[in-house]
Structures are given as structure tokens and as C-alpha cells.
Amino acid sequence: MLDVLNLLIYGAVISAISFFAIILLMPAAIRSLTAGGKLVPDAHKRDKPMIPRPAGPVIMAGIGAAEIVLYLLTMNTAVLAVLLSTVIAFAVGYVDDSRMMPGWFKPVALLAAAIPLVSLELYVGGVHEDSLNLVFGRAFIPLLYIPLIFVIMPITGNTINSIDVLNGVASGFIIIAMIPLLASIAIFGSHEVFLAALPLLFAAVAFYKYHKFPSRIFPGDSGTLLFGAMYGALAIAGSSEIIGVIALLPAVMNSFLFLASVRRIVEHRQIKERPTILMNDFKLAASKDKSAPATLVRLILADGPLDEKAVGCQIFKLATLTALLAFATIAIQYAIFRL
């Protein structure tokens, strides 16, 4: 356990490293990617401007530097496990950014991101509990917990990846979801995992400056998968699995709606019937095609066309609601534990 002074100093140092590394490196990354022709069209804009992608390497550099400093300061195994899981998810995303991989690649390859959490717990210990925090109590399930980690990591990675459909949504969504997760880790987890979570929040805040509408750079699969997998690893190491899922509900709902309607694991780009239609006035409308996949954006647009920025605002309102529900869940759990 760290004392309050160390907690404040370490927290300030690693948050600053993560935030300023991304703020300062991103303009150079935008110039470099643009010069190298690594550009993709921003499909929902007039004239479809070309936007550089991916920002994942810069985000990874900022978070990685902060986590390495934290590990050297604390020598905590959970911090190392979270860092290694994040690096693996980033590598999986970078492969997908560099070459077009089939739909099964990301969920299957993300299983590897669970390995540091499981193996470091087995060989060193101190990464996570063997019991699942179920709000109303803990369930000691050593047999089920390891497979559960292999389920959680691909799910969290892919849910953030699948919600990255509009400018600023993935980064803004992570910022909102991180607030209740940080509170939960502070109450039910450890000081070290709480500190390990700060670089993710500050990286997302720094990246949002460049990713918000109108985006100057896209995160790419490397950025979204590292965001999602790191979030999952923190929820596991911080004994906040259910609260983490609740804060992530709109993204989970988006993945669930998509999978339940297409009934197979497939990339969005491989779907012929689009869930939304871009109108002449550049507003988005819900597709009326019954075979089009169901997505969160399509449901938001079911009441009428909206522009891209307004759809993003609706998603953020929904994320704020689920963050409040996550806080309510923390309050319920805290009250039960106090009884």
C-alpha cells in the first residue's frame, strides 16, 4: 500500500507523462502520416477529406512510458501485467492497421492479451483475485475465472473498436467510462492499479483534442484495441469487472446488436447492407433495409436524421447515463460491504 503523499506524487508524474507525451507527439505523427500517405477518407463529411491514421503508436508511446515509470517506482506485478496486455492488444491492432485481416483475426488474436494477466498471476501472483466481484458479494470461482479473463479481453478490445465509427466517439467514450472505473478501483481495488489506470484516462483526454469532431487523426485499430484491452485489464486487476461492464454498456450494446443481427464475426467493411445512409445534406439516417445490421448509431437515428456531431453527442449522453448507473452500482456494493 502506498501512502497518500506517494500516491499523489506518482499519480501526478505518470498522468503528466501520458498526457504531455501524446499532446506533444501527435502533431508530428499527423505530419509524418500525411507525408507518408497513410490517409483514409472521413466518410461522413462533405468532400470526404483524407485523415491520417493510425494514432495508436503515439498513444502507446504515451501510455507505455507512464506505465514503465510506474512499474519502476512500485515494482508491482499488476502494473506490469496491465502494460503487457496493452502492448499485445496494440500489436494486434497495428497488424490490422497495416494489412487488411479477416474478421476473426482481432477477437482471436486478442486472446493473447489475456496471457500476461493469467501467467503473471500463476507464476508471480498479485495481479488479480481468484474471485469475481459480483456487486452483492464475491464469487470464489478459480476454475471459471481464468477462462473468463480470456473472454473479457477480446470483448472489451472489440467493443471500443466497434464504437469507433464517428469522429471523437471512441476517445470521448473511454474518458466517460474511465471515471466510474477509477472510482471503483480506488474503493475495491489497489492503489497501484488505480495509478496504472490514470495514464489511460489522461491519454484519452490528450488524444480527444485531436480526435474530436472534426477529427485531425484517427486512432486506427491499434488505438482502439489498446484502449479497450487496457480498460479490460484494469477492470480485472482492479476487482471491478461488473462495474467496468456497466460503464461500457453502450459499447457492449453496440457489439451485441451487431453480432445478434449479422450472426457471425465479421468486419464492418465486409457488410454490404449499411446500417446508416449518408443523405445529400450530409446528415445520417437509419437504413430501412431489414437485412442491414443493427447498431447503436442506427437505433439513435431511428427517430430521424442527425448530423455526425449530434449522433456523437447522443452517444456521450448515453455513456454519461451508464457512468451514473456504474456509480449507483458502486454505491450499492459499498453499502453491502459496510453492512
Binding site: 456487486v135 471459471l144 427517430d303 447515463l321
Partner: protein
């Protein structure tokens, strides 16, 4: 109604998740006492608990899928 409908959908999902969590803690965690009178081997109890937990989660997913279908029909016709 647009945001209101989605907000209700999310709150129902949250309630269902909490209900499943409560069920697992209240009924599945002490199952060695309820079903086996505290006499079963740890491994047997764990396997039974894991099997019931998986079934309950599958039922939750089916429930959510049904809710989604009703919501989609109402919204998109």
C-alpha cells in the same frame, strides 16, 4: 422519445445484469450447502457452480436478444 427509449433500454439491461449478479451470489455461491449439504468435493462444487453460472449468462443473453428484437421492431418497423 429518441434518447428516452434508448435510456430505458440501457436501464433495463443494467437491472438484468444486477439481477443475475444477485442470483449468482445468493443462490449459486452457497450451493455446496444447498445441494450437497457441505459434503461434496471442492472440484465437484466448482464444476456445478460454473455450469449454472454459464447457463444463467446464456439465459441473460437470450433475454437481451429478445428485448433487442422487440425494440428494433418498434423503432424500425
Amino acid at each position: 422519445m429518441g434518447f428516452g427509449g434508448l435510456a430505458i433500454f440501457v436501464v433495463v439491461m443494467w437491472t438484468m445484469i444486477l439481477a443475475v449478479a444477485a442470483f449468482l451470489v445468493i443462490f449459486i455461491a452457497p450451493i455446496d450447502m444447498i445441494m450437497f449439504d457441505g459434503q461434496a468435493r471442492r472440484l465437484t462444487v466448482s464444476v456445478v457452480q460454473a455450469a449454472i453460472a454459464i447457463i444463467v449468462v446464456v439465459v441473460l443473453v437470450f433475454g437481451l436478444s429478445r428485448m433487442k428484437r422487440i425494440y428494433m421492431q418498434k423503432k424500425l418497423g
